[in-house]
Amino acid sequence: MGNHLKIGLEVHVQLNTGKLFCRCPVEGKEVGSFELHRKLRPASGESGAVDRAARYEEERDRSFTYECPDNTCLVDYDEEPPRSINEDALNTALKVAASLGCTVLPVIECMRKIVIDGSNTSGFQRTSLIAVNGNIETSKGRVGITSVCLEEDSARKLSDSGDSVRYSLGRLGIPLIEITTDPDVVDEDHAIEVARKIGLTAMTTGMARRDADSIRQDVNMSMGHGRVEIKGISRISQIKEAIESETERQLMLEKVSSVINERGGFPIEKFHFTDVSADFEGSGSSIISRGLKEGKHVYLSKLTNMSGVLKSSELRLGREIADLTKVFAVQGILHSDELPGYGLTKNDVMILSKKADCRPLDAFMLVIANDSKASILESEIPARIRHLLDLKLDETRYFSDQGRTAFLRPLPGSERMYPETDLEPIRLSKELIESAMDFGKLSAEERIKKLSIDYNISLQDASTLVNEAKLGLFLSLSAQLTPRYSARLILQRLPEIEKKSGISLDDQTIIGVAKIIKGRSLGEISMEAALELISKGTSLEDIRITDAIEPLSDVRLSEILNELSGNDVVGSPGELIAAVKQRTSRPFDPRDLIRLIESRKRITQK
């Protein structure tokens, strides 16, 4: 690995406080019957210029469909201005900032970050810079914290056909704390350590959302060829893969660049498309004949000096070009390094090579696309090749399912930010900042220890509750049930219930059940019986009134025992418990049953 490698992280933590700019809950049920259709256009920032990443999205001219689950409202549909910021979310962001040793800004100004890939219905993401200049200690030295921001999460992408994209709005507007580090991360393992440490800090607030993708990280890295931002790394373990894959790619591009330079370079002006559709009538290539049938054309261009670098054992410039065309929803590209093949014969290749005026070191490519797409690609492809060969590699990439990074869009500039004019700046009170600073005085480890002491639970349980983002649930449940039982319920019984039903229960539902149990003066076994019913589809309203969660009385237990065996108690306690369970759907405390059996035995012995 090169000496120039610089790595920084952006860690995103979802909060369970309710949405950031409306009063919708974080959790929702997909309803699916209601959807919206929209288009987006770029808008210019304060200086009047349009951001390059936004302009780029505009050229893609896509349409967006939004599914609207039951935790969405007019704010999510961009049909109403934002409501005031969620104060719990703001307080949590301040606490996290203080814990990371940051300086909190005196005035919080909400900005609009232009994002027109459809992931925000408004065409921008609301984001506020909360604090700057912090640091954390790690095993490999101090890592600077550039900034802590509080932003809205984007809509979740459901499908993408290139020209149209489908999103669900359930996730849109969930508060997201974004923690950005300085490029102080030294290697892949260190990146994982830093991400974990930051994540843990956020989770000790008890406000982190408990969900599969509630913590996500982006990697910023540079090997001296510009900054690459890699998005979409949902698991911490993937950080390592992403960095390795990107490093490999940049080393490959260094080689490609030097090979092409030795050959005399890539003259950008020699790249132009010739429509060769007529040559392919009745072609044996299915990819081409399908395209022609759809009304597309086949375009040919020479790729000067590129023979062998598009696809060989280690050089893969062709894939870089394909990543670009994919962004414009053009899947049909072929280049001479992979031909003959795809139904094209050796003879076809010779004819095309001649037509493109190829000399021995030249390659050619075919693009199957409609006119408008081709005219965009005719300028985009050579421009991108130029960038890659000049090793100007700064861009936004994503970590794909195939375990490699792929082109997403150019890096956005500062032009993409302008003030959210629907919201007034927030001037933080001294008390608010001081209470956050107080929170920040303890380290994450110290807070876990304090949790175990304050609630009289084991250190192990306290640590697991925090690490699994179950602290918020624990704190809420402890107000209804005893802390010890709350911990046991969350860490043992709940996973069992969820595993048995295959359904995961959200925090709000569990807390709702606990409130009902407390309100009905019922106990632990009723709590678990209620959760089991909920996991089988019973509603909270039914839990409020059903008898099915009330424990069996001693009288009724005795009756069942009578039915089972007359007055003679036979079988082991375990067998009897199982037998009683078969005869009733109501919960009962096995200890009660054993007590009854014991007393019967005593009577019988007398």
Partner: protein
């Protein structure tokens, strides 16, 4: 005054400036790149503005930060401002097709942009951005855009309607259709007033606006203008309002101005044809016109006379004779928004009788908006009729106001006859079930 050496804005300096409204220019020009020191940290920033006691800077990341004026020390000017590269466009013509369309901008959200110096959304003089949205039909039309005003519609007055009407009338002498960009708040008032003032019109007059300003990527402005251009290609001799038909893009509606009403504060589809009056719709760029649409006239006849002595009185349980009397004082015609079928409290009847006898007109519309008033069903309705009030069937209150102003100016001696006569489709002849309320 700035120098390249470090300068501290001492508290004395600020005190000396108090009482004088300071502008950002006293610190630096918008867009100047600076190196500043704030609480021991040195930052490279772009100056945006001064806001009271705070200075607003943009960080290289794009975030704006606000620091107290006193806490900022200027270290160095890195780069002078290049100024704002945008230039205002007063008149623009696009296309060279046969259909001639005049686009007149009066202001409103549709032609508003963020004013970064103050952070507020304000009407802009520059409307070139909206012309991008009709690229695909450019060859069929010649569209001439003019900025005739720059006001938010809550500030519109009858003077503005008359001025707009004159300009529209002039435009219709030369062009085939007129599109009017207008704020949405009072758009239906303006549309109604124009509908009555244009006794004949040789082409469509279409008002359009937006509920999301055009500085947002999701703005409805682009599609509303595009749809208005498509409607202006059609044979329509009416004043209409063109807006989104749903909260999704891709569906637009054209509503007869006298039957249109803004029914939501923020939604894109806020404008509804109340009971009747949908003149047409556009679904995925295809225009569908209603059969009840009025064809264009041979000529345009515009009358610029309106009588301002009219008003809308909203009856409610607190209403009494005194407030009705003071409200009616300088008015010749009062549109009463009555309850239900068209009722007001018995306690107001003597006053209505008295004022009617003095020559004032009371016309009755309903707060229900949907449905016809009928003063013959209940005793209180009959008493109101007996007191001299005139029921206006299902005419909308705002339309009734505009119509009163027109009728007072043109037919004051036959007020009742003209008010109850259906002039521009302001009364629905049939009571159809229609859509949701």
């Amino acid at each position: 005054m700035l120098s390249a050496t470090a300068m501290h804005y001492a508290p004395e300096r600020v005190l000396a400036d108090q009482g004088v409204r300071m502008t950002g220019k006293e610190f630096a020009e918008f867009g100047t790149r600076l190196k500043i020191e704030h609480e021991g940290q040195v930052l490279e920033v772009t100056f945006i503005k001064r806001d009271g006691d705070e200075l607003v800077f943009k960080l290289p990341s794009g975030y704006n930060v606000r620091f107290s004026f006193k806490a900022v020390k200027l270290v160095e000017i890195l780069e002078e401002s290049h100024g704002n590269s945008k230039h205002a466009m007063e008149v623009a013509t696009i296309g060279s097709g046969s259909r001639k369309i005049s686009l007149l901008s009066t202001g409103g959200t549709i032609s508003s942009k963020v004013d970064y110096a103050t952070g507020a959304v304000k009407p802009t003089e520059d409307i070139s951005f909206i012309l991008d949205s009709i690229r695909d039909i450019k060859e069929k039309i010649t569209l001439k855009a003019n900025i005739i005003d720059s006001i938010l519609s809550e500030n519109m007055k009858p003077d503005n309607w008359i001025r707009i009407g004159r300009l529209v009338s002039k435009a219709l002498d030369e062009e085939d259709a007129v599109i009017l960009l207008h704020g949405t708040d009072t758009m239906s008032y303006t549309a109604s007033a124009l509908a009555f003032m244009f006794e004949k019109q040789r082409g469509p007059i279409i008002l359009t606006g937006s509920q999301r300003s055009s500085d947002r990527p999701s703005s409805d402005a682009f599609e509303n203008i595009e749809a208005s251009v498509r409607f202006s290609m059609e044979q329509i001799g009416e004043v209409g309002i063109c807006m989104h038909a749903s909260i999704s893009d891709g569906r637009s509606t054209l509503i007869r101005g006298v039957r249109a009403r803004k029914m939501h504060t923020t939604r894109r589809d806020a404008f509804r044809a109340i009971e009747s009056g949908e003149l047409g719709s556009i679904i995925d760029r295809k225009v569908l016109l209603s059969r009840e649409i009025k064809e264009p006239d041979e000529e345009t006849i515009f009358s610029d006379k309106l009588d301002l002595a009219a008003g809308i009185y909203y009856f409610n349980p607190l209403s009494n004779e005194d407030d009705l009397e003071s409200f009616s004082k300088k008015k010749k015609a009062v549109v009463i928004m009555a309850t239900g079928l068209g009722h007001v409290a018995d306690r107001l009847l003597p006053k209505i009788r008295e004022l009617t006898d003095e020559g004032k007109h009371f016309v009755i519309t309903s707060q229900c908006l949907y449905g016809r008033v009928d003063l013959e069903v209940y005793a209180s309705g009959r008493k109101l009729l007996a007191a001299g009030a005139v029921p206006l069937e299902n005419m909308l209150p705002e339309t009734a106001l505009a119509k009163s102003m027109y009728v007072l100016a043109h037919h004051s001696d036959e007020f009742e006859k003209w008010m109850t006569k259906n002039l521009r489709g302001e009364i629905s002849e049939r009571s159809l079930l229609g859509g949701e309320l």
